[in-house]
Symmetry: C2
Subunit: 193 residues, 2 copies
DNA sequence: GCTATGATTGGTCAGTCGTCCAAGACGATC
DNA sequence: GATCGTCTTGGACGACTGACCAATCATAGC
């Protein structure tokens, strides 16, 4: 009958702080997130930030990794199940649901930049990205693609670069890129099998 | 005989401040650049920043635009002179000279993000990017490329996205992408004429 | 009951921030 | 010479920053 132990309360506060950080990184930028703004958004006293997390950087790191991880692993699973070209098409359709200026999109870009200045974050993000690239590569290899790894690098660059450009020009449509990428993902002898 | 008028001195101070901003945006991030750090790097008293520029944001804007403009117009000229596929190859070779973590590369990415939060910068950057996209499109149209504009969008996304990823994994080589992009830039009937 | 253990509070600390301004210094023009 | 516009100085203002801490709270296990 222990309704709400203080251990649970602590866990929930941590979750709220991480969620607030995920919103604020996109809204204000990585360096724009302060402990007080964070606490206000999470409806928590400022002092709690440094009680639950070693540092502000550590909280931001955890928030970024926890936001990116699930998205990338979900997409990787999709690659394992469907045809690579179809999976890429589905991913591009997903991108069109974002504007490029929303916190979710900007969180990704902010994390990339923050990783260039924070070795710990860099390593964690590298693992995520490397796993995703490996998933694309494996999917292409299973279709006897001759340049699987290079194509995987290009696909990931297209996705992140497109988000960057969509922030500048919201009218851009990722769906229009599908036929071009399909030419790269399909093996050269036109879709026999 | 006017050796060094104070008007000249002011002009030079402005130039030094802009140059310092171009370095510091990449090193510390857009929000990490302060008037005092800026003044120190430019070897100038802090008070001068707000004398010569309306605000810190205005200085950062000008620095970003002046850094990106020449690079993009140079590349656009290359596109007008050479074969589109060769021009793209030259641009990718250029990218490999950067590490993805150097101030020059990060300035671009930082500017993209800052543009999503600063409408004035957004419009100025949009003009730059749109002009560059038009140059690529025109070069492809001159070769009777069927999907010129979409291909241009993809090429630009690849370039910027690749810089993003290179910051995470410096071993990535843009040169390896050349054959893939060549398949997209060349017209379908393999390089006749 | 009592005691650990963890959670929370409110505040302090030494800095840094963007912006502004009065006073002075400089060179060009009359 | 005097005057004018431009540039430069040094400091001030209030606000905000990350980090830290002693005191207090609530709960779990004994």
């Amino acid at each position: 009958m222990t309704g709400r132990t203080n251990v649970d309360r602590g866990r929930e506060v941590r979750a709220r702080l991480v969620a607030a950080a995920q919103e604020l990184i996109g809204e204000l930028g990585w360096n724009g997130v302060s402990t007080r703004i964070l606490a206000e958004r999470a409806e928590v006293r400022p002092g709690l930030v440094h009680y639950h997390f070693e540092s502000l950087q550590a909280l931001l790191r955890q928030a970024a990794i926890e936001a990116m991880g699930p998205l990338l692993t979900d997409a990787a699973q999709l690659l394992g199940a469907a045809d690579p070209a179809d999976a890429v098409e589905a991913m591009l359709a997903d991108i069109d649901r974002y504007t490029g200026t929303d916190p979710a999109s900007l969180l990704f870009i902010e994390a990339y930049i923050a990783a260039t200045r924070d070795p710990v974050l860099r390593e964690q993000m590298y693992d995520l990205v490397a796993a995703f690239r490996a998933a694309i590569t494996a999917a292409l290899v299973s279709k006897d693609h001759p340049d699987a790894e290079t194509t995987a690098v290009l696909i990931m660059a297209v996705i992140d670069g497109f988000i960057l450009h969509k922030g500048l020009d919201p009218q851009l449509s990722a769906a229009r890129l599908v036929p071009l990428l399909r030419r790269l993902t399909e093996t050269e002898n036109g879709a026999d099998r």
